[in-house]
């Protein structure tokens, strides 16, 4: 399995989605990771069982382009990333406006919590 994570700028995301769609790629997932002062998003696509992944660094408070105009199914991930990681998306084709998850704890998360006693 291809383990290369190509780094791109967040401004390149809509163009990336257009390129992948034109190339016949299926979207696999979008993942958010909270880092110091930023969120790291991992976009994965697949064609003929070969997966390619792209990493994007998004500073807190930054609004980025949605890929739902190209991959409508991405609304599942973008709304999740909005609710849990606080990333805002423009031009979303299905925006739940923060109501995708009904959480009893405060979100978005901003980094690791203090380790509890169960941790090694």
């Amino acid at each position: 399995m291809n383990q290369e994570f190509k780094e791109i700028e967040y401004s390149e995301i809509p163009a990336l989605a257009k390129r992948m769609l034109a190339g016949g790629y299926r979207m696999v997932q979008i993942c958010g990771v909270t880092k110091e002062g930023e969120n790291e998003l991992v976009y994965s696509f697949d064609k003929d069982h070969e997966m390619v992944s792209y990493k994007v660094h998004v500073p807190f408070g930054t609004t980025i382009g949605s890929i739902t105009p190209e991959y409508w199914a991405a609304f599942v991930y973008e709304n999740e990333i909005h609710d849990l990681f606080g990333v805002e998306f423009t031009d979303s084709k299905l925006d739940y406006k923060g109501n995708f998850f009904r959480m009893s704890v405060k979100t978005p998360w901003k980094g690791a919590e203090k380790k509890d006693e169960g941790a090694a």
């Binding site: 399995m1 016949g24 993942c31 990771v33 991992v42 994965s44 998850f101 009904r102 959480m103």
Partner: protein, 359 residues
């Protein structure tokens, strides 16, 4: 234009064992739009990676879902092993395949039972679940647990399985196959079943690609995105994906019936060819800095596992993208234009697992 009405479907509904909500916008009896809502029972299990070490997270991951429990531990350990550059013994790979395919069999039988139950075909429902019990009995005899088995661990599997027990598993596979061939004929031939499924919720191959759908939903429309196709152990067992072209509810149902028979063959071949030797390797130390993505073909479709290490025993991120997560858009698409009476069948044929979705 007919009268427009919004009918709420779920989160509590007889067809749904778990909570998902759909706002069905109707024009007379036709659904013109469906808006899904999830997040009723989101548990934040991925978040626990920050406070549990990578070994403890195996136990957390297998609790993402009770039906595909083994598959989640398989996917997660595969990702951690990739990150830590651990090569597990061949015997462990075969044992994982045997357990994974047994899990697929019991998951598909559970689903077939639920489908029959939703149709009001209760005797068929009970037969499916009766057959399924045989798989759970095997799990219990080997691991002591029927659902969450803690069989997979980083580095291999937790215990070896004796040749006598493997022969017994092969025997149980013969029994299950004989029964599934009889029960499967009901799904294949019965008029009342076919009336509910044939020609309903059709998705073309291109729509599957556009909607990123996975699993039997994709394979029922002729799109092969079965992760097992490229998995070396499955290749050695002669795996070929099961595909159908109709793209309707019936095709998705028959893919699952055929996959049960296929899994029986894979298990018997794996038992015949299983190598001798170690069943795990020792694993020590923290996870290195870096990341690794791993995919496993769960009963409901491709599961995606991503881990990010930071040089400690905790992971910065443990991500699970479950198959239902990405089949919800396909469900929404199939609902557009369907009759209200078909909504239950359409929802069920994606085999929604909300427990997985609300990881």
């Amino acid at each position: 234009m007919g009268k427009r009405t919004i009918v709420p479907f779920g989160p509590q509904h007889p067809a749904l064992p778990e909570p998902i909500h759909l706002d069905l916008e109707l024009e007379d009896e036709k659904v013109v739009r469906a808006i899904p809502s999830i997040g009723y029972v989101h548990r934040g299990l991925e978040k626990l990676a920050e406070t549990r070490d990578y070994e403890q997270m195996t136990y957390v991951m297998e609790r993402v879902c009770g039906i595909c429990s083994f598959g989640h531990s398989y996917g997660y350990t595969g990702a951690v092993e990739g990150l830590m550059d651990i090569e597990i013994p061949d015997r462990a790979k075969y044992l994982r395949v045997i357990f994974h395919e047994l899990s697929r069999v019991h998951s598909h039988l559970l689903w077939l039972g639920l489908l029959a139950d939703a149709m009001g075909f209760d005797s068929l429902f009970m037969h499916c679940w009766r057959i399924r019990e045989k798989v759970l009995d095997v799990f219990e005899e080997i691991t002591g647990a029927r659902v969450i088995m803690s069989f997979c661990k980083v580095g291999g599997v937790r215990k070896d399985v004796t040749p006598e027990m493997l022969n017994k598993v092969a025997g149980v596979c013969n029994e299950i196959e004989e029964e599934v061939r009889k029960t499967g004929m009901v799904f294949m031939k019965d008029t009342s079943v076919k009336n509910r499924l044939v020609g309903k919720g059709v998705l073309s191959k291109q729509e599957i690609i556009d909607l990123s759908a996975v699993g039997p939903v994709a394979r029922g429309s002729g799109f092969d995105n079965d992760v097992r196709t490229t998995e070396p152990t499955y290749k050695a067992l002669g795996f070929e994906p099961i595909l159908r072209d109709e793209g309707d509810c019936y095709a998705r149902c028959m893919v699952r019936v055929d996959e049960i028979i296929q899994s029986m063959n894979l298990i018997r071949t794996a038992i015949k060819d299983i190598p001798t030797g170690d069943f795990c390797v020792p694993v020590k130390g923290p996870v290195p800095v870096g990341d690794f993505a791993y995919r496993v073909e769960q009963p409901r479709g491709e599961g995606f596992y991503y881990v990010q290490g930071n040089g400690t025993k905790n992971l910065s991120r443990a991500r699970v993208r479950t198959p239902t997560n990405i089949n919800i858009p396909a469900l929404v698409k199939t609902l557009q234009g369907c009759d209200l009476q078909d909504v239950t069948m359409l929802v069920l044929t994606i085999d929604p697992c909300i427990s997985c979705t609300e990881r």
